[in-house]
Amino acid sequence: MPDLATTFEENATQAAATVWRCERSPLAIRSAVERAAENARGGIVLSEAEFLAPQLLAALPGLGGVILRPEDEQLAKAGVGVTEAFAGVASTGSVCIALGRPLVGLTSLLMPMNIVLLASERIVERPRDLFDPGCLKGEGLKRNLIFITGPSATADMGPLVLGAHGPHRLLILLLE
């Protein structure tokens, strides 16, 4: 039976997200974000971390193109948002973000590309697990949560189109 991370990767890919397995180190994360965002226009915006150790993200602000303390006007024009995940869901390949820390909502919504950092130990089996008081300290029942499954999409204009109002591309860095 595949482990949760493998199932997650398969189902996230099925949902049109891209999954990169990434070593859990500041340099590896920085390198992955840099590679993913190399052709993006409009700058990179980072959300504030809550669940990952702060030092893991310490190298990101120094990356070229990163906008520190962005104004809303810059947010509207940025090309990449980097968001930390509260959890992942294996059976659906979803990442789940928890609103609260600055820019978590906007980095996962406004920019054409959303990079989500997901710690592999925060992957649960099914969506309903996050409604269990014993799962991830019961935070799933208290927070403003958004399950994100692939990039935004629409079939309203005929065929399925990836990239509707929200991000056109969802890249998940699975931190092992």
Binding site: E73, T92, L106, N144, I148, S152, A155, V161, A164, G166
Partner: protein
Amino acid sequence: MADPHLKPAAVEVPRDLANKSDKARLLRAIRMALEIESPAVRRNTQTFNRGRYLATAAIPDYDALKDQARRIKDKAIASLPELVQTLKNAIRSRGGHVFVASTAADACRYILDVCHWRAAKMVVKGKTITSEEIHLNHVLEADGIEVVETDLAEFILQVANEQPSHFIAPALHYSRERITALFKRKFKTDLPLDSGEALTRFTRERLRAKFLYADIGITGANLIAADTGTLMFVESEGNIRMASFLPPVHIAISGVEKIIPARSEMAPFLELLAASATGQSLAAYTSFLSPPLSDPAFALPGKPIKPREFHLVLIDNGRMRMREDPVFRETLNCIRCGACLNSCANFQTVGGHAFGGETYSGGIGGSWEAGTGKLENARFSELCTGCSRCVNQCPVRIDIPWLNENLADRLNRTVERTPLRNALGSVTGASMEDRSAPASKIFFGNYHYFAKWGARLKSIAHSIGVAKLAGLTSSSDGGGHAKPLRLAMERWVGLDRRRTLPQFANQTLVHAARKQAVGAGRPRGSKVVLFADVFTNYGLAQRGLATLEVLRALGADVVVSEAVPEGRAALSQGMIATAKNHARRATAELERYVSEGRDIVVVEPSSLAMFRRDLRYLLESKERFERFRARAFDPVEYVVKLLEKSSRKPKDVFDVSRSPVGQKLFFHAHCQQKTIGSAEPTEALLREVGFDVLTTNVECCGMAGSFGYKTEFYDLSMAVGADLFTQIIQQERSGGKRALIASGTSCTEQLQGGFARSVLHPIELLAAILRR
């Protein structure tokens, strides 16, 4: 004044046909949909439907999850007034506002007041069908406020000035080509807009600026938890996230029935909703928000920074009255996933502009339209044929056909009795309450009466050597030169002259079986009563005789009941009082056999479904229903049971090489047979015997009992049947001709009409290949 039926469909405007309180508009809307919208509707609904089957199959505890969801909804509806109070407290404790609107006008007035207080010039809206119900856009726009629909489907409808045709995909009646033409015409652009990507990009760019500068965002909500004031939003595009997150003021509009007791109880709906709606494991975004949010609202330069504000507008608009109605209370369980729409053969063919009203569509739509408006607005629910394919697809187990049968019953009673209806009702024995129903309904609802006399006349004609008697045993000659009797039937009871009438048996099942039983002796195996349903007894008696032959060959002790209606025909016409009478007669007839410990075998699937499903509403107690439900079987299902009991292998009993129709079959299961789970055993047994069996994935053949016989629905019925015909033709083109096998009488008629070939019941085939 011009006859409305003669108006060319191509110039019909869906908005003009939205209110179908009169029948003529319903028929015009069907014509418009068949001519214009059908290809896109068919493609999109069938894609959702296929996806739903796959997605729900991937949920390991799907049925348990449905039960859990249903329990939560039942509990919520039972305590709705208390939950509203709990919810108010939860949201107000965080600084939000809650307004409970008794009427649509109250809701609009409150929302308009909020817009005035905040000096709003522009609002962006996420998809909210409830706002369509209250006609919110009209009210805001009349006050000079710019309303921007941001769901791409709703945007198309706003540009086209059309009402939604589906709960979750409101513009699914539009093909890409039609959207391109619409946008080029309305926006006067030279851009090619010749792909989904181009159209999406064009629309997204127009709408992004609106999001960033909007004063107010308006959304609906999929569910609301009373304990925490948490709202659940399901979407794919991200526009609901934007509408609820970017502007400083968020107004959520929701029917009161969306409230459930606790946030922890949202879990089963999370997985059920997306799978049932679009066939996804989850939609791109499922949000659980407890507003007002703490994040600052978005403010571009020149736009004042305002504190966040949240208003929840809970809408009654008839729902609390529905809660008090013993039948329509059921509707409040609906979570608007659209599974019932996508699995409905009629909806798949015409969509919600024909099979729908001003706001709500499909099988469940009639109850919503009647509950939130007037009963007459639900007239389109006549397009529910009662095929029951939606029943197992509903994630909260709403019995939608029963709702529509009740709507039909109440609509039947809104009209005055006429002498013709009175006479017809009196002659056929229809209940007094049902004698104001249209003549066609009294005719079809009491078909047993006409079948009995038809069979008698046929028998007399047969015995005296007259081949055809007064046109009763034949139909149109195919060239439109119908016999006078057929013309009269079309005129007075709406029976379409293009249909071949079911043939009456030379000898009824009951009569033929009695002759057989003489001196036959009684075996000592399983005890069975073969219920002489109306269609088998008076029409396809050979199917009943084949059942007798096979079951007796397997050692069963089989007797045949008297022929009595069990209520299916009357129920399908919304004649519930008559259906109850029929159900009591049938169960009284069967009671003595059941008391002897006999199982009941029923050949006609729609009659069997009465015993397995519908009698629960028509008999006096659940215990009495259960007494018959647990003993009722399809013939082939019972053959499987006997084989298992005797540990005999199918090939020991049946010899496929004796098949009179070859070994390649195309088996079309009856819609109700699929719902009650008696199709799979048939398919499996035919394969085990050695047949090469192909099946169809259409939900219904389009005939659906009496539906396809009616002149007013003939074209729709044939359009639905086209899917089945196409599948058979395609299979035969690639793999050669196959024998057509069908269990239902009406499916048989539809297939015979489409292919002019004989169609066998599986039990007839099994009787023919018995090892002797």
